[in-house]
Symmetry: C2
Subunit: 314 residues, 2 copies
């Protein structure tokens, strides 16, 4: 059964891709075998990360960009990492709206992945979903992350080209800097740039990017103004992505970047496995027994951890 799934994913069949990603998402015991088998077919897709604060119009930009990539016959996969709670069900809703626009195209695959449990786990799953899309023959994979926290930044950073989307009302440039976005963008986009404050933000961003640029860096980060809903600036953004790709490929930076990402992926896999293996039923029940004593300040969490590690080999 797994062999059939693998064959069909390699043939880019949508239902099988969806099924594969579900296996990964549900941490099915088969998912590991699936990923191992598909791995030799990965490494060909170009990864684009799109991130920025909520409401910046990331989905609209992703859709517009996808249309241009499709006009040029590229196959596109989209993973939207959406920390929406089960309460809102936003991920599913978002999928439906998108499906009407670009989802009927057989060479576009869209999937939202919502936070269940820890976001750390989500980051791992999102990357694994990208591997499935990569193996299925997608030329470009867009990873879209809502939010501006560290974990989301980590996901965005695993891309080859990371695009930071801001809007005039995102707050001033200093706030953008504070949110950690200045460090990760290869391209900056000011979306909804018909709104007040766009030029001020663009100028401030450019100044800060100039200050940030290290002497040995040759990549000059551009600030592109777009209006996603009117398809304005998307062509320029698309060209800038290709310019960055050429830059990475001709400077040997691509190899370094992918190597760093592989190391990060291995760390994540290891940490995930360590956590699962460590927390045996026995250790969990030892912890449950000790909690009240710690809460009553008769012991400390630090003593407990020392104790539980005593019979642990590494």
């Amino acid at each position: 059964m797994l062999n059939k799934l693998i064959r069909e994913i390699l043939k880019s069949e949508k239902l099988s891709i969806a099924k594969g990603i579900s296996l990964v998402e549900n941490e099915s015991p088969h998912s590991r075998e699936l990923l191992k088998s598909l791995y030799k077919n990965t490494g060909n897709a170009y990864l684009i990360g799109i991130t920025g604060p909520p409401g910046a119009g990331k989905s609209t930009l992703t859709n517009a960009l996808t249309k241009i990539l499709r006009e040029n016959k590229y196959k596109v996969g989209i993973i939207a990492v959406d920390p929406t709670s089960p309460f809102t069900g936003g991920a599913l809703l978002g999928d439906r709206i998108r499906m009407q626009e670009i989802g009927t195209d057989k060479d576009v695959f869209i999937r939202s992945m919502a936070t269940r449990g820890s976001l750390g786990g989500l980051s791992k799953k999102a990357k694994e979903a990208c591997e499935i899309l990569d193996a299925s023959g997608k030329d470009f994979i867009i990873i879209e992350t809502v939010g501006v926290g560290q974990s989301e930044l980590d996901i965005a950073q695993t891309a080859d080209t990371t695009i930071v989307v801001l809007v005039p009302e995102s707050g001033d440039a200093v706030q953008t800097m504070k949110a950690g976005l200045m460090e990760i963008g290869d391209i900056f986009v000011i979306n909804k740039c018909d709104r007040q404050g766009a030029d001020v933000l663009a100028t401030a961003l450019k100044t800060m990017l100039h200050l940030k640029m290290k002497e040995h860096e040759i990549w000059d980060i551009k600030v592109i103004k777009t209006i996603g809903t009117q398809n304005k600036g998307i062509d320029e953004l698309n060209k800038e992505i290709f310019r960055h790709r050429t830059y990475l490929e001709t400077n040997g930076k691509m190899k370094i970047k992918r190597r760093d990402n592989l190391i990060k992926q291995i760390y994540e896999l290891v940490n995930n496995k360590l956590e699962i293996k460590f927390w045996s039923d026995e250790r969990r029940s030892i912890m449950d027994d000790k909690l009240d004593r710690i809460l009553d300040r008769e012991s400390t969490p630090y003593d407990f951890v020392d104790e539980v590690f005593k019979n642990f080999k590494y």
Copy 2:
């Protein structure tokens, strides 16, 4: 030397508190002993988490709230978790500005903790810093987190009362929901409420909070409008914090919350230790040797992880 430090922290001496937090921040070998010794003196401070998107005015609100708490003779500790990069140096700058306002008060202790390395580590350190402040006799500890990502939310959630600060231009209520903020707020604040859109946001928030409220919950989440810079609405916010505290204490929820937080803290301590112990020099060098083969698709990260776990006992 450590004994002297402990004595002085318990006497609430500022320099010693600062030194203790530095030990924690730098992961000094002494920090574990310090935390173990101080633990029996913790559990008395009330923790307030303040979070929200960058630029919402969280620092201003924290300062205003601190002033009211001081008027009532409460001792206050402030930990500002600031994911500012080394490039910006914002944390230090922020500290200086604050020091002029409330930092000269001997019963207010302010400390910014900036992201160095992983934010996961920062969350652990922030909690440990809170323990030091708690042991030093602070009645209230305010943990302020910039950003809206999962890790920042985790930090904010370890508080007894979590305040989510929004501004009219934060984007609409749906965006707030998407950013995961709806789930964690015990109190919502719309700051800078003299700006356009405050009432619309307030109404939308109230509607969503009403929808979200589960039948068995008795705590009705309020939306408070403030103008931090003009000290408007701060009194109401302060009263709401005390109302929430009474709610937690009279419903047995306080104990449940603190127990859950202790479990989280233990998980963090364990994961941190597992990671450090697992990645011996030997395992790191095995990984370095394998990277190229994996990058060339002759092996997979999954096979590597299986292999490296073979000689690992748990």
